[in-house]
Symmetry: C2
Protein backbone atom coordinates (compact mmCIF):
# COMPACT_ATOMS: atom_id res chain seq x y z
CA UNK A 1 0.00 0.00 0.00
CA UNK A 2 1.42 3.36 -1.02
CA UNK A 3 1.93 5.68 1.90
CA UNK A 4 -0.18 8.81 2.15
CA UNK A 5 1.97 11.72 1.13
CA UNK A 6 1.70 15.42 1.89
CA UNK A 7 -0.17 15.86 -1.37
CA UNK A 8 -2.68 13.17 -0.44
CA UNK A 9 -3.26 14.81 2.93
CA UNK A 10 -3.93 18.13 1.22
CA UNK A 11 -6.37 16.48 -1.20
CA UNK A 12 -8.21 14.62 1.55
CA UNK A 13 -8.53 17.84 3.56
CA UNK A 14 -9.69 19.82 0.53
CA UNK A 15 -12.44 17.25 -0.10
CA UNK A 16 -13.48 17.27 3.55
CA UNK A 17 -13.66 21.07 3.63
CA UNK A 18 -15.69 21.19 0.42
CA UNK A 19 -18.22 18.87 2.08
CA UNK A 20 -18.45 20.58 5.42
CA UNK A 21 -21.27 22.92 6.47
CA UNK A 22 -22.72 22.02 3.10
CA UNK A 23 -25.99 20.24 3.88
CA UNK A 24 -28.77 22.79 4.15
CA UNK A 25 -26.29 25.55 4.79
CA UNK A 26 -28.84 28.26 5.49
CA UNK A 27 -28.86 30.67 8.41
CA UNK A 28 -25.86 30.55 10.69
CA UNK A 29 -24.44 27.49 8.89
CA UNK A 30 -24.06 29.56 5.72
CA UNK A 31 -22.16 32.21 7.67
CA UNK A 32 -19.86 29.59 9.20
CA UNK A 33 -19.33 28.15 5.74
CA UNK A 34 -18.43 31.61 4.40
CA UNK A 35 -15.78 31.86 7.11
CA UNK A 36 -14.32 28.38 6.86
CA UNK A 37 -14.23 27.93 3.10
CA UNK A 38 -12.09 31.01 2.45
CA UNK A 39 -8.86 29.43 1.30
CA UNK A 40 -6.31 29.36 4.11
CA UNK A 41 -3.08 27.41 4.42
CA UNK A 42 -4.77 24.71 6.50
CA UNK A 43 -1.61 24.45 8.54
CA UNK A 44 -3.31 23.19 11.70
CA UNK A 45 -5.30 20.40 9.99
CA UNK A 46 -2.17 19.33 8.11
CA UNK A 47 -0.22 19.19 11.38
CA UNK A 48 -2.93 17.03 12.91
CA UNK A 49 -3.06 14.60 9.99
CA UNK A 50 0.70 14.28 9.57
CA UNK A 51 1.19 13.73 13.29
CA UNK A 52 -1.51 11.07 13.33
CA UNK A 53 -0.09 9.33 10.27
CA UNK A 54 3.51 9.61 11.49
CA UNK A 55 2.52 7.84 14.70
CA UNK A 56 0.50 5.05 13.07
CA UNK A 57 -2.99 6.60 12.92
CA UNK A 58 -5.49 6.56 10.07
CA UNK A 59 -6.89 9.30 7.84
CA UNK A 60 -10.47 8.23 8.68
CA UNK A 61 -10.20 9.40 12.28
CA UNK A 62 -7.67 12.18 11.70
CA UNK A 63 -9.49 14.11 8.97
CA UNK A 64 -12.72 14.89 10.89
CA UNK A 65 -10.70 16.01 13.92
CA UNK A 66 -8.56 18.14 11.59
CA UNK A 67 -11.60 19.79 10.01
CA UNK A 68 -12.96 20.46 13.50
CA UNK A 69 -9.69 22.04 14.56
CA UNK A 70 -9.68 24.36 11.55
CA UNK A 71 -13.25 25.32 12.45
CA UNK A 72 -12.05 26.29 15.92
CA UNK A 73 -9.18 28.29 14.44
CA UNK A 74 -11.54 30.09 12.07
CA UNK A 75 -13.99 30.69 14.94
CA UNK A 76 -11.20 32.38 16.87
CA UNK A 77 -10.35 34.53 13.83
CA UNK A 78 -13.99 35.58 13.43
CA UNK A 79 -14.05 36.79 17.04
CA UNK A 80 -10.53 38.28 16.82
CA UNK A 81 -11.58 40.37 13.83
CA UNK A 82 -14.44 41.85 15.86
CA UNK A 83 -12.10 42.57 18.77
CA UNK A 84 -9.38 44.07 16.54
CA UNK A 85 -11.78 45.95 14.25
CA UNK A 86 -10.15 44.20 11.29
CA UNK A 87 -12.35 44.36 8.23
CA UNK A 88 -10.56 42.03 5.80
CA UNK A 89 -9.66 38.37 6.30
CA UNK A 90 -8.25 36.03 3.67
CA UNK A 91 -8.87 38.68 1.00
CA UNK A 92 -12.61 38.88 1.76
CA UNK A 93 -14.69 41.06 4.04
CA UNK A 94 -14.41 39.80 7.62
CA UNK A 95 -17.53 38.00 8.85
CA UNK A 96 -18.61 40.92 11.05
CA UNK A 97 -18.34 43.25 8.06
CA UNK A 98 -20.24 40.91 5.74
CA UNK A 99 -22.95 39.81 8.20
CA UNK A 100 -22.83 42.16 11.21
CA UNK A 101 -21.17 41.86 14.62
CA UNK A 102 -24.12 40.05 16.22
CA UNK A 103 -24.11 37.29 13.59
CA UNK A 104 -20.32 37.08 13.72
CA UNK A 105 -20.38 36.42 17.47
CA UNK A 106 -22.87 33.59 16.93
CA UNK A 107 -20.98 32.18 13.92
CA UNK A 108 -17.73 32.08 15.90
CA UNK A 109 -19.53 30.10 18.59
CA UNK A 110 -21.03 27.73 16.02
CA UNK A 111 -17.55 27.09 14.63
CA UNK A 112 -16.21 26.41 18.13
CA UNK A 113 -19.00 23.93 18.86
CA UNK A 114 -18.39 22.11 15.58
CA UNK A 115 -14.86 21.45 16.88
CA UNK A 116 -16.41 19.18 19.51
CA UNK A 117 -19.10 17.84 17.19
CA UNK A 118 -16.31 16.66 14.88
CA UNK A 119 -15.25 14.13 17.52
CA UNK A 120 -18.55 12.37 16.95
CA UNK A 121 -17.55 11.79 13.34
CA UNK A 122 -14.19 10.47 14.52
CA UNK A 123 -16.18 8.02 16.63
CA UNK A 124 -18.28 6.91 13.69
CA UNK A 125 -15.04 6.35 11.78
CA UNK A 126 -13.63 4.08 14.45
CA UNK A 127 -12.19 6.29 17.20
CA UNK A 128 -12.79 4.71 20.61
CA UNK A 129 -14.64 6.37 23.48
CA UNK A 130 -11.30 6.59 25.28
CA UNK A 131 -9.84 8.56 22.37
CA UNK A 132 -12.88 10.83 22.20
CA UNK A 133 -12.83 11.50 25.95
CA UNK A 134 -9.10 12.30 25.76
CA UNK A 135 -9.63 14.57 22.75
CA UNK A 136 -12.50 16.37 24.52
CA UNK A 137 -10.22 17.07 27.47
CA UNK A 138 -7.41 18.39 25.26
CA UNK A 139 -9.75 20.54 23.16
CA UNK A 140 -11.47 22.05 26.20
CA UNK A 141 -8.12 22.93 27.79
CA UNK A 142 -6.92 24.37 24.49
CA UNK A 143 -10.04 26.52 24.19
CA UNK A 144 -9.41 27.87 27.69
CA UNK A 145 -5.77 28.61 26.78
CA UNK A 146 -6.85 30.43 23.61
CA UNK A 147 -9.20 32.59 25.71
CA UNK A 148 -6.47 33.37 28.21
CA UNK A 149 -4.13 34.29 25.34
CA UNK A 150 -6.71 36.59 23.76
CA UNK A 151 -7.42 38.25 27.11
CA UNK A 152 -3.72 38.68 27.81
CA UNK A 153 -3.26 40.28 24.40
CA UNK A 154 -6.11 42.70 25.13
CA UNK A 155 -4.74 43.64 28.54
CA UNK A 156 -1.21 44.11 27.20
CA UNK A 157 -2.38 46.50 24.47
CA UNK A 158 -1.23 50.10 24.71
CA UNK A 159 1.97 49.44 26.63
CA UNK A 160 5.24 48.49 24.95
CA UNK A 161 7.37 47.78 27.99
CA UNK A 162 6.26 44.23 28.77
CA UNK A 163 8.75 41.50 29.53
CA UNK A 164 9.51 39.09 26.72
CA UNK A 165 8.29 36.30 29.02
CA UNK A 166 4.85 37.95 29.17
CA UNK A 167 4.84 38.04 25.37
CA UNK A 168 5.75 34.36 25.18
CA UNK A 169 2.97 33.42 27.62
CA UNK A 170 0.48 35.42 25.58
CA UNK A 171 1.67 33.92 22.27
CA UNK A 172 1.55 30.41 23.73
CA UNK A 173 -2.18 30.95 24.23
CA UNK A 174 -2.83 32.95 21.09
CA UNK A 175 -1.03 30.66 18.62
CA UNK A 176 0.90 27.93 20.40
CA UNK A 177 -2.13 26.33 22.04
CA UNK A 178 -4.04 25.46 18.86
CA UNK A 179 -0.91 24.16 17.12
CA UNK A 180 0.04 22.08 20.16
CA UNK A 181 -3.55 20.82 20.19
CA UNK A 182 -3.35 19.86 16.51
CA UNK A 183 -0.37 17.61 17.15
CA UNK A 184 -1.69 16.30 20.46
CA UNK A 185 -5.04 15.28 18.92
CA UNK A 186 -3.14 13.64 16.06
CA UNK A 187 -1.21 11.62 18.63
CA UNK A 188 -4.43 10.70 20.45
CA UNK A 189 -6.06 9.52 17.23
CA UNK A 190 -2.95 7.37 16.63
CA UNK A 191 -3.15 5.94 20.17
CA UNK A 192 0.43 7.07 20.69
CA UNK A 193 2.25 6.68 24.01
CA UNK A 194 2.09 9.63 26.39
CA UNK A 195 5.80 10.26 25.71
CA UNK A 196 5.21 10.63 21.97
CA UNK A 197 2.04 12.66 22.59
CA UNK A 198 4.06 15.00 24.80
CA UNK A 199 6.74 15.38 22.14
CA UNK A 200 4.04 16.06 19.53
CA UNK A 201 2.52 18.76 21.77
CA UNK A 202 5.87 20.43 22.34
CA UNK A 203 6.66 20.29 18.61
CA UNK A 204 3.34 22.06 17.89
CA UNK A 205 3.81 24.63 20.61
CA UNK A 206 7.33 25.58 19.48
CA UNK A 207 6.19 25.71 15.87
CA UNK A 208 3.28 27.95 16.92
CA UNK A 209 5.59 30.37 18.71
CA UNK A 210 7.88 30.53 15.68
CA UNK A 211 4.90 31.22 13.40
CA UNK A 212 3.58 33.93 15.71
CA UNK A 213 6.94 35.69 15.76
CA UNK A 214 7.17 35.45 11.96
CA UNK A 215 3.65 36.87 11.79
CA UNK A 216 4.71 39.74 14.04
CA UNK A 217 7.63 40.41 11.69
CA UNK A 218 5.53 40.46 8.50
CA UNK A 219 4.66 44.20 8.58
CA UNK A 220 8.41 44.87 8.45
CA UNK A 221 9.49 42.11 6.08
CA UNK A 222 6.62 41.49 3.64
CA UNK A 223 5.94 44.31 1.18
CA UNK A 224 2.20 43.67 0.89
CA UNK A 225 -0.72 42.25 2.79
CA UNK A 226 -1.44 38.53 2.47
CA UNK A 227 -5.15 39.03 3.05
CA UNK A 228 -5.21 40.68 6.46
CA UNK A 229 -4.41 44.35 7.04
CA UNK A 230 -0.74 44.64 7.93
CA UNK A 231 -1.32 47.58 10.24
CA UNK A 232 -3.73 45.74 12.53
CA UNK A 233 -1.25 45.18 15.38
CA UNK A 234 -0.01 48.74 15.21
CA UNK A 235 -3.51 50.17 15.01
CA UNK A 236 -4.58 48.08 18.02
CA UNK A 237 -1.37 49.03 19.87
CA UNK A 238 -0.42 45.41 20.31
CA UNK A 239 2.99 44.84 21.82
CA UNK A 240 4.43 42.52 19.16
CA UNK A 241 7.82 40.90 19.69
CA UNK A 242 9.82 43.22 17.36
CA UNK A 243 8.40 46.22 19.18
CA UNK A 244 9.06 44.80 22.66
CA UNK A 245 12.60 43.87 21.68
CA UNK A 246 13.08 47.27 20.05
CA UNK A 247 12.08 49.04 23.26
CA UNK A 248 14.65 46.99 25.18
CA UNK A 249 17.47 47.21 22.64
CA UNK A 250 17.15 50.82 21.50
CA UNK A 251 19.07 53.66 23.16
CA UNK A 252 17.20 56.29 25.17
CA UNK A 253 16.65 58.70 22.27
CA UNK A 254 15.50 55.94 19.89
CA UNK A 255 13.22 54.56 22.60
CA UNK A 256 11.46 57.89 22.97
CA UNK A 257 10.90 58.15 19.20
CA UNK A 258 9.68 54.54 19.13
CA UNK A 259 7.19 55.21 21.90
CA UNK A 260 5.89 58.32 20.17
CA UNK A 261 5.27 56.44 16.92
CA UNK A 262 3.70 53.46 18.72
CA UNK A 263 1.43 55.56 20.91
CA UNK A 264 0.03 57.50 17.97
CA UNK A 265 -0.13 55.02 15.09
CA UNK A 266 -2.27 57.38 13.03
CA UNK A 267 0.60 59.80 13.06
CA UNK A 268 2.47 57.83 10.42
CA UNK A 269 6.13 57.02 10.78
CA UNK A 270 5.85 53.41 9.56
CA UNK A 271 9.10 53.63 7.64
CA UNK A 272 10.80 55.31 10.58
CA UNK A 273 9.49 52.57 12.87
CA UNK A 274 10.89 49.88 10.60
CA UNK A 275 14.25 51.65 10.40
CA UNK A 276 14.44 52.08 14.17
CA UNK A 277 13.60 48.42 14.80
CA UNK A 278 16.17 47.37 12.23
CA UNK A 279 18.86 49.71 13.59
CA UNK A 280 18.28 48.54 17.17
CA UNK A 281 18.78 44.93 16.08
CA UNK A 282 15.22 44.01 17.16
CA UNK A 283 14.19 42.56 13.78
CA UNK A 284 17.24 40.28 13.71
CA UNK A 285 16.74 39.29 17.33
CA UNK A 286 13.07 38.40 16.74
CA UNK A 287 14.04 36.39 13.66
CA UNK A 288 16.65 34.55 15.71
CA UNK A 289 14.06 33.72 18.38
CA UNK A 290 11.74 32.29 15.71
CA UNK A 291 14.60 30.18 14.35
CA UNK A 292 15.39 28.95 17.84
CA UNK A 293 11.80 27.79 18.36
CA UNK A 294 11.97 25.97 15.04
CA UNK A 295 15.10 24.14 16.23
CA UNK A 296 13.23 23.12 19.39
CA UNK A 297 10.30 21.95 17.28
CA UNK A 298 12.46 19.81 14.99
CA UNK A 299 14.28 18.41 17.99
CA UNK A 300 11.02 17.01 19.40
CA UNK A 301 10.64 14.88 16.27
CA UNK A 302 13.71 12.80 17.06
CA UNK A 303 11.73 10.06 18.75
CA UNK A 304 9.11 9.90 15.97
CA UNK A 305 9.35 6.86 13.68
CA UNK A 306 10.99 7.79 10.37
CA UNK A 307 8.85 8.18 7.27
CA UNK A 308 7.27 10.68 4.92
CA UNK A 309 4.96 12.18 7.56
CA UNK A 310 7.75 12.79 10.03
CA UNK A 311 9.70 14.29 7.11
CA UNK A 312 6.77 16.59 6.32
CA UNK A 313 6.55 17.75 9.96
CA UNK A 314 10.29 18.39 9.85
CA UNK A 315 9.89 20.37 6.64
CA UNK A 316 7.06 22.47 8.12
CA UNK A 317 9.44 23.44 10.95
CA UNK A 318 12.22 24.34 8.53
CA UNK A 319 10.73 26.96 6.21
CA UNK B 1 -29.07 6.22 53.77
CA UNK B 2 -31.24 9.29 53.54
CA UNK B 3 -32.09 10.25 50.00
CA UNK B 4 -30.73 13.48 48.58
CA UNK B 5 -33.51 15.99 48.59
CA UNK B 6 -34.04 19.17 46.59
CA UNK B 7 -32.44 21.11 49.43
CA UNK B 8 -29.36 18.92 49.39
CA UNK B 9 -29.04 19.39 45.63
CA UNK B 10 -29.21 23.15 46.06
CA UNK B 11 -26.58 23.06 48.80
CA UNK B 12 -24.23 20.83 46.78
CA UNK B 13 -24.57 23.14 43.79
CA UNK B 14 -24.04 26.26 45.89
CA UNK B 15 -20.81 24.77 47.26
CA UNK B 16 -19.64 23.77 43.78
CA UNK B 17 -20.34 27.25 42.40
CA UNK B 18 -18.54 28.93 45.29
CA UNK B 19 -15.48 26.83 44.42
CA UNK B 20 -15.50 27.29 40.68
CA UNK B 21 -13.24 29.71 38.78
CA UNK B 22 -11.78 30.40 42.18
CA UNK B 23 -8.16 29.25 41.96
CA UNK B 24 -6.04 32.11 40.72
CA UNK B 25 -9.06 33.83 39.27
CA UNK B 26 -7.19 36.64 37.56
CA UNK B 27 -7.61 37.85 34.00
CA UNK B 28 -10.40 36.25 32.02
CA UNK B 29 -11.15 33.76 34.81
CA UNK B 30 -12.11 36.64 37.09
CA UNK B 31 -14.50 37.94 34.43
CA UNK B 32 -16.06 34.51 33.99
CA UNK B 33 -16.39 34.27 37.75
CA UNK B 34 -18.12 37.67 37.87
CA UNK B 35 -20.64 36.35 35.34
CA UNK B 36 -21.26 32.92 36.82
CA UNK B 37 -21.41 33.79 40.51
CA UNK B 38 -24.22 36.33 40.14
CA UNK B 39 -27.03 34.54 41.91
CA UNK B 40 -29.38 32.93 39.39
CA UNK B 41 -32.06 30.30 39.92
CA UNK B 42 -29.69 27.51 38.82
CA UNK B 43 -32.64 25.85 37.12
CA UNK B 44 -30.56 23.99 34.53
CA UNK B 45 -28.05 22.50 37.00
CA UNK B 46 -30.92 21.47 39.27
CA UNK B 47 -32.65 19.77 36.33
CA UNK B 48 -29.45 17.90 35.52
CA UNK B 49 -28.88 16.72 39.08
CA UNK B 50 -32.48 15.71 39.75
CA UNK B 51 -32.68 13.81 36.46
CA UNK B 52 -29.42 12.00 37.22
CA UNK B 53 -30.53 11.14 40.75
CA UNK B 54 -34.04 10.15 39.66
CA UNK B 55 -32.54 7.66 37.22
CA UNK B 56 -30.01 6.14 39.60
CA UNK B 57 -26.99 8.40 39.07
CA UNK B 58 -24.67 9.94 41.66
CA UNK B 59 -24.02 13.50 42.75
CA UNK B 60 -20.27 13.08 42.20
CA UNK B 61 -20.64 12.83 38.42
CA UNK B 62 -23.77 14.99 38.11
CA UNK B 63 -22.57 18.10 39.93
CA UNK B 64 -19.51 18.89 37.74
CA UNK B 65 -21.62 18.42 34.60
CA UNK B 66 -24.29 20.66 36.14
CA UNK B 67 -21.79 23.41 36.93
CA UNK B 68 -20.48 23.12 33.37
CA UNK B 69 -23.98 23.46 31.97
CA UNK B 70 -24.64 26.59 33.99
CA UNK B 71 -21.35 27.99 32.66
CA UNK B 72 -22.60 27.39 29.12
CA UNK B 73 -25.91 29.07 29.97
CA UNK B 74 -24.15 32.06 31.47
CA UNK B 75 -21.79 32.18 28.46
CA UNK B 76 -24.80 32.42 26.18
CA UNK B 77 -26.26 35.22 28.34
CA UNK B 78 -22.97 37.15 28.21
CA UNK B 79 -23.04 37.04 24.41
CA UNK B 80 -26.81 37.66 24.25
CA UNK B 81 -26.41 40.82 26.29
CA UNK B 82 -23.88 42.14 23.77
CA UNK B 83 -26.19 41.25 20.89
CA UNK B 84 -29.27 42.74 22.56
CA UNK B 85 -27.47 45.81 23.98
CA UNK B 86 -28.78 44.85 27.41
CA UNK B 87 -26.82 46.57 30.14
CA UNK B 88 -28.11 44.84 33.28
CA UNK B 89 -28.12 41.14 34.12
CA UNK B 90 -29.06 39.57 37.45
CA UNK B 91 -29.19 43.05 39.01
CA UNK B 92 -25.57 43.84 38.08
CA UNK B 93 -23.94 45.53 35.10
CA UNK B 94 -23.79 43.09 32.19
CA UNK B 95 -20.28 41.75 31.53
CA UNK B 96 -19.81 43.90 28.43
CA UNK B 97 -20.74 46.99 30.44
CA UNK B 98 -18.45 46.08 33.33
CA UNK B 99 -15.44 44.87 31.30
CA UNK B 100 -15.99 45.94 27.67
CA UNK B 101 -17.38 44.12 24.63
CA UNK B 102 -14.04 42.59 23.65
CA UNK B 103 -13.51 40.99 27.05
CA UNK B 104 -17.15 39.88 27.16
CA UNK B 105 -16.78 38.01 23.87
CA UNK B 106 -13.73 36.18 25.25
CA UNK B 107 -15.36 35.51 28.62
CA UNK B 108 -18.42 33.99 26.93
CA UNK B 109 -16.10 31.67 25.02
CA UNK B 110 -14.20 30.75 28.18
CA UNK B 111 -17.49 29.83 29.85
CA UNK B 112 -18.50 27.71 26.86
CA UNK B 113 -15.17 25.84 26.91
CA UNK B 114 -15.49 25.17 30.62
CA UNK B 115 -18.71 23.31 29.78
CA UNK B 116 -16.57 20.69 28.03
CA UNK B 117 -13.73 20.89 30.55
CA UNK B 118 -16.27 19.97 33.24
CA UNK B 119 -16.62 16.51 31.67
CA UNK B 120 -13.02 15.86 32.66
CA UNK B 121 -14.01 16.35 36.29
CA UNK B 122 -16.92 13.97 35.78
CA UNK B 123 -14.32 11.46 34.55
CA UNK B 124 -12.14 11.95 37.61
CA UNK B 125 -15.25 11.35 39.74
CA UNK B 126 -15.99 8.04 38.05
CA UNK B 127 -17.79 8.76 34.77
CA UNK B 128 -16.69 6.30 32.10
CA UNK B 129 -15.16 7.25 28.75
CA UNK B 130 -18.39 6.08 27.12
CA UNK B 131 -20.39 8.52 29.25
CA UNK B 132 -17.96 11.35 28.51
CA UNK B 133 -18.01 10.66 24.76
CA UNK B 134 -21.83 10.60 24.81
CA UNK B 135 -21.97 13.82 26.84
CA UNK B 136 -19.51 15.52 24.45
CA UNK B 137 -21.78 14.62 21.54
CA UNK B 138 -24.90 15.94 23.26
CA UNK B 139 -23.21 19.13 24.41
CA UNK B 140 -21.75 19.87 20.95
CA UNK B 141 -25.15 19.37 19.32
CA UNK B 142 -26.78 21.52 21.97
CA UNK B 143 -24.27 24.30 21.37
CA UNK B 144 -25.06 24.18 17.65
CA UNK B 145 -28.79 24.34 18.41
CA UNK B 146 -28.31 27.32 20.72
CA UNK B 147 -26.43 29.11 17.91
CA UNK B 148 -29.17 28.33 15.40
CA UNK B 149 -31.78 29.61 17.86
CA UNK B 150 -29.86 32.85 18.47
CA UNK B 151 -29.40 33.37 14.73
CA UNK B 152 -33.09 32.68 14.08
CA UNK B 153 -34.04 35.19 16.75
CA UNK B 154 -31.81 37.81 15.12
CA UNK B 155 -33.21 37.18 11.66
CA UNK B 156 -36.83 37.27 12.90
CA UNK B 157 -36.35 40.64 14.60
CA UNK B 158 -38.28 43.58 13.18
CA UNK B 159 -41.17 41.57 11.76
CA UNK B 160 -44.21 40.55 13.81
CA UNK B 161 -45.98 38.38 11.28
CA UNK B 162 -44.05 35.12 11.72
CA UNK B 163 -45.82 31.78 12.03
CA UNK B 164 -46.10 30.36 15.53
CA UNK B 165 -44.16 27.33 14.29
CA UNK B 166 -41.20 29.58 13.42
CA UNK B 167 -41.36 30.97 16.95
CA UNK B 168 -41.41 27.47 18.44
CA UNK B 169 -38.38 26.40 16.35
CA UNK B 170 -36.51 29.51 17.47
CA UNK B 171 -37.46 29.01 21.14
CA UNK B 172 -36.45 25.33 20.96
CA UNK B 173 -32.93 26.52 20.15
CA UNK B 174 -32.90 29.56 22.39
CA UNK B 175 -34.22 27.92 25.56
CA UNK B 176 -35.38 24.37 24.89
CA UNK B 177 -32.00 23.05 23.79
CA UNK B 178 -30.08 23.77 27.00
CA UNK B 179 -32.89 22.48 29.21
CA UNK B 180 -33.21 19.32 27.10
CA UNK B 181 -29.42 18.98 27.36
CA UNK B 182 -29.55 19.33 31.14
CA UNK B 183 -31.90 16.38 31.45
CA UNK B 184 -30.17 14.34 28.74
CA UNK B 185 -26.75 14.73 30.39
CA UNK B 186 -28.34 13.79 33.72
CA UNK B 187 -29.64 10.61 32.08
CA UNK B 188 -26.22 9.89 30.54
CA UNK B 189 -24.49 10.30 33.91
CA UNK B 190 -27.04 7.83 35.33
CA UNK B 191 -26.36 5.35 32.50
CA UNK B 192 -30.09 5.39 31.76
CA UNK B 193 -31.64 3.48 28.85
CA UNK B 194 -32.07 5.38 25.59
CA UNK B 195 -35.84 5.33 26.17
CA UNK B 196 -35.50 7.08 29.53
CA UNK B 197 -32.88 9.45 28.13
CA UNK B 198 -35.28 10.37 25.34
CA UNK B 199 -38.08 10.99 27.82
CA UNK B 200 -35.73 13.13 29.92
CA UNK B 201 -34.77 15.16 26.83
CA UNK B 202 -38.39 15.73 25.86
CA UNK B 203 -39.28 16.71 29.43
CA UNK B 204 -36.50 19.31 29.37
CA UNK B 205 -37.44 20.62 25.97
CA UNK B 206 -41.13 21.06 26.85
CA UNK B 207 -40.20 22.68 30.14
CA UNK B 208 -37.86 25.03 28.26
CA UNK B 209 -40.59 26.10 25.85
CA UNK B 210 -42.96 26.75 28.74
CA UNK B 211 -40.33 28.84 30.51
CA UNK B 212 -39.56 30.83 27.36
CA UNK B 213 -43.24 31.63 26.87
CA UNK B 214 -43.56 32.66 30.52
CA UNK B 215 -40.46 34.83 30.05
CA UNK B 216 -42.07 36.42 27.00
CA UNK B 217 -45.15 37.17 29.11
CA UNK B 218 -43.25 38.79 32.00
CA UNK B 219 -43.29 42.37 30.61
CA UNK B 220 -47.10 42.15 30.67
CA UNK B 221 -47.59 40.20 33.88
CA UNK B 222 -44.76 41.14 36.27
CA UNK B 223 -44.89 44.66 37.63
CA UNK B 224 -41.11 45.06 37.94
CA UNK B 225 -37.85 43.82 36.52
CA UNK B 226 -36.29 40.71 38.04
CA UNK B 227 -32.77 41.85 37.14
CA UNK B 228 -32.96 42.18 33.37
CA UNK B 229 -34.57 45.13 31.61
CA UNK B 230 -38.17 44.23 30.85
CA UNK B 231 -38.19 46.25 27.64
CA UNK B 232 -35.33 44.34 25.99
CA UNK B 233 -37.49 42.30 23.62
CA UNK B 234 -39.53 45.30 22.62
CA UNK B 235 -36.47 47.48 22.17
CA UNK B 236 -34.83 44.81 20.01
CA UNK B 237 -38.09 44.30 18.09
CA UNK B 238 -38.15 40.61 18.96
CA UNK B 239 -41.28 38.79 17.88
CA UNK B 240 -42.26 37.27 21.23
CA UNK B 241 -45.16 34.84 21.44
CA UNK B 242 -47.73 37.28 22.92
CA UNK B 243 -46.98 39.72 20.12
CA UNK B 244 -47.16 37.10 17.36
CA UNK B 245 -50.42 35.77 18.76
CA UNK B 246 -51.74 39.30 19.15
CA UNK B 247 -51.04 40.05 15.49
CA UNK B 248 -52.98 36.93 14.51
CA UNK B 249 -55.88 37.33 16.93
CA UNK B 250 -56.47 41.10 16.76
CA UNK B 251 -58.93 42.69 14.33
CA UNK B 252 -57.63 44.83 11.46
CA UNK B 253 -57.76 48.13 13.34
CA UNK B 254 -56.11 46.69 16.47
CA UNK B 255 -53.47 45.05 14.29
CA UNK B 256 -52.52 48.36 12.75
CA UNK B 257 -52.19 50.01 16.15
CA UNK B 258 -50.15 47.04 17.40
CA UNK B 259 -47.78 47.27 14.47
CA UNK B 260 -47.30 51.01 14.98
CA UNK B 261 -46.39 50.55 18.64
CA UNK B 262 -44.10 47.58 17.89
CA UNK B 263 -42.29 49.26 15.03
CA UNK B 264 -41.49 52.34 17.06
CA UNK B 265 -40.90 51.09 20.60
CA UNK B 266 -39.45 54.45 21.66
CA UNK B 267 -42.82 55.98 20.89
CA UNK B 268 -44.23 54.67 24.13
CA UNK B 269 -47.59 52.98 24.25
CA UNK B 270 -46.53 50.15 26.60
CA UNK B 271 -49.82 50.27 28.47
CA UNK B 272 -51.75 50.41 25.22
CA UNK B 273 -49.74 47.42 23.95
CA UNK B 274 -50.57 45.43 27.04
CA UNK B 275 -54.25 46.33 26.78
CA UNK B 276 -54.39 45.39 23.11
CA UNK B 277 -52.70 42.03 23.71
CA UNK B 278 -55.07 41.38 26.60
CA UNK B 279 -58.15 42.40 24.63
CA UNK B 280 -57.19 40.24 21.65
CA UNK B 281 -56.86 37.22 23.91
CA UNK B 282 -53.17 36.83 23.06
CA UNK B 283 -51.97 36.90 26.69
CA UNK B 284 -54.41 34.16 27.67
CA UNK B 285 -53.54 32.13 24.58
CA UNK B 286 -49.80 32.36 25.29
CA UNK B 287 -50.39 31.37 28.89
CA UNK B 288 -52.43 28.40 27.73
CA UNK B 289 -49.62 27.32 25.39
CA UNK B 290 -47.14 27.46 28.28
CA UNK B 291 -49.47 25.36 30.41
CA UNK B 292 -49.82 22.84 27.58
CA UNK B 293 -46.04 22.43 27.33
CA UNK B 294 -45.91 21.87 31.09
CA UNK B 295 -48.49 19.09 30.73
CA UNK B 296 -46.31 17.49 28.03
CA UNK B 297 -43.26 17.82 30.28
CA UNK B 298 -44.97 16.15 33.25
CA UNK B 299 -46.30 13.43 30.99
CA UNK B 300 -42.74 12.42 30.02
CA UNK B 301 -42.01 11.65 33.66
CA UNK B 302 -44.49 8.77 33.77
CA UNK B 303 -41.85 6.16 33.04
CA UNK B 304 -39.38 7.55 35.59
CA UNK B 305 -38.99 5.53 38.79
CA UNK B 306 -40.94 7.12 41.64
CA UNK B 307 -39.07 9.03 44.32
CA UNK B 308 -38.21 12.49 45.63
CA UNK B 309 -36.22 13.50 42.53
CA UNK B 310 -38.95 12.56 40.12
CA UNK B 311 -41.32 14.47 42.41
CA UNK B 312 -39.05 17.51 42.25
CA UNK B 313 -38.95 17.38 38.44
CA UNK B 314 -42.75 17.13 38.48
CA UNK B 315 -42.93 20.12 40.78
CA UNK B 316 -40.62 22.19 38.56
CA UNK B 317 -43.03 21.55 35.69
CA UNK B 318 -46.03 22.56 37.76
CA UNK B 319 -45.31 26.08 38.95
Amino acid sequence: MARTTAEQVRTALATAFADCWCGDAGGIDAVARYAITAPGKLLRPRLLCHTALALGGRMATAVPAAVGLEAAHVGSLVHDDIIDHDTVRRRRPAVHKAFGVETAIIAGNALYFSWFAALDECGRNGATDRQIAAATRVQARTGAAVCRGAAAELSMAGSFRHDISAYVTMAQGKTGALMACACHIGAIMADASSELAGAARRYGESLGLAFQIRDDLLPYTAPRSMGKPRDSDLRNRRPTLPVLLGMKMADAAQRQTLEEILTDPEHGGRTQLRDLLEASGALDAADAMAAEHLVCARDELRHFPGGPHRDELHRLATV
